[in-house]
Amino acid sequence: MIRFEDVVKKFGDTTVLEGLSFAVERGERVTLIGPSGSGKTTILRLLMTLEHLTDGFIYVDGDPLTHELRGGKRVERRPKDVTRIRRRIGMVFQQFNLFPNMTVIDNITEAPVHVLGQSREEARQRAHALLDQVGLKHRAGAHPMELSGGQQQRVAIARALAMDPEVLLLDEVTSALDPELVNDVLEVLREVARTTDITMLIVTHEMQFARDVSNRVLMFDHGHILEEAAPDVMFTSPEHERTRQFLQAIL
């Protein structure tokens, strides 16, 4: 479903990713772990086209996302193509990033109406169903600022799901939340994982959650995959000392 091929990402003179390659199968749930600055966020942001890819290729279902080979040369894809492919990917942010000028329901229906071309009625019905699913049926008319962080994040999840993404990117979606609000959000995501076959790339420090939902854990260090394993293996008997230290530090 997702394939990184020799991906290079530089910010000015700092190289964050240097020839990273890995693949994620359709329906797979992959958790990315690793010390701060190891490049986890950068990987998700590249997939969401929020960062410019310095070199290499990213494929979504075999379709190159931002750059492709044409006549043996690496060229940028046309914005129209990028948009078409990007539409299959959704993202939930650490800071929620809801639109404060819109009500909850408008936040959710905006893209389905104006990107997918759904009728307003159709989009509203779906939005209400999604709000029900995230436990916020009664807050459809509220503005984001009237909601707690945990509620905002659940709206953000509903907003992403309303686009029917094939791939969902979750970047530390609970780390901006007060501890008592974390579980509601994780419970919603567990439910999504249980009831859909959406491919997920997850960056999280919630190891129990990672264990529950993911099929595979990738341990990153300085932009490279240090090791990968099924969650129970990774969290109980990692191969590398570095992974052991890292896990000890966060648990």
Binding site: M48, L50, T83, L98, F99, N101, E110, A111, A160
Partner: protein, 213 residues
């Protein structure tokens, strides 16, 4: 030097007529022009490629940094098929659009990066990102300053005297020339400006509240 109340009362209708028919007209149409053009400049500067954006930015700086009376005279004598009034409205509108563009720009820059990123993550097309996400938030921050520019423009309308548009102060000067009494017409003109500025400020405040969410 004494103030002749009777004379003042006698010239008031003429002054008010000049005020309503010219000064207000120029201010309202000029402000709308400036508000629309300013927005166009601000969005353009952000979205256009550098080879168009740079020259545009230079032209805007140029207009902002040269005096309004010179621009009025220049346009008036260059395009002599245009009436003085249309030149006045266009020039004052364009002049103030360059200031308003700066205000819009500040408002747009005050929007957090996460808003743009959420719009990208939802694949919103640029026109929806601007219309539904960025501008409603940016305008809230920009509106008070647009109102201030509109009031500044209002107070700059007497410059239209240089191309002989019969606005309030031109009219006052004419009455003075006719009657050799300058105190009453100019005092009244000043008072009219003062009295009109206040409700404008109140109106702006109201509009601002309407945009709140």
């Amino acid at each position: 030097m004494s103030f002749d109340w009777e004379f003042a009362l006698q010239i008031l209708p003429d002054l008010l007529e000049a005020f309503v028919r010219i000064t207000l007209l120029v201010t309202v149409v000029g402000s709308l022009t400036a508000a629309v053009l300013g927005l166009v400049w601000a969005i353009g500067l952000r979205s256009l490629p550098a080879w168009v954006g740079r020259p545009l930015s230079f032209v805007l700086d140029f207009i902002r940094m040269t005096p309004l009376p010179i621009q009025l005279l220049f346009v008036y004598y260059t395009f002599n098929n245009l009436s003085a009034l249309s030149v006045g409205i266009i020039v004052i509108g364009v002049h103030y659009s360059t200031y308003m563009a700066e205000s819009y720009r500040a408002g747009i820059e005050s929007i957090r990066k996460g808003q743009w990123e959420a719009a990208t993550a939802l694949s919103l097309p640029p026109h929806r990102t601007w219309r539904a996400v960025i501008l409603p938030q940016a305008l809230r921050a920009t509106l008070p300053s647009l109102g201030n520019w509109a009031i500044a423009m209002f107070k700059d309308t007497p410059f239209l005297i240089v191309i002989a548009v019969p606005e309030l102060v031109t009219e006052a000067k004419e009455i003075g020339g006719r009657t050799f009494s300058y105190v009453e017409p100019f005092t009244l003109a000043g008072l009219i400006f003062l009295v009109a500025s206040y409700p404008t400020a109140v109106l702006m405040r109201k509009l601002e509240n309407r945009l709140a969410y």
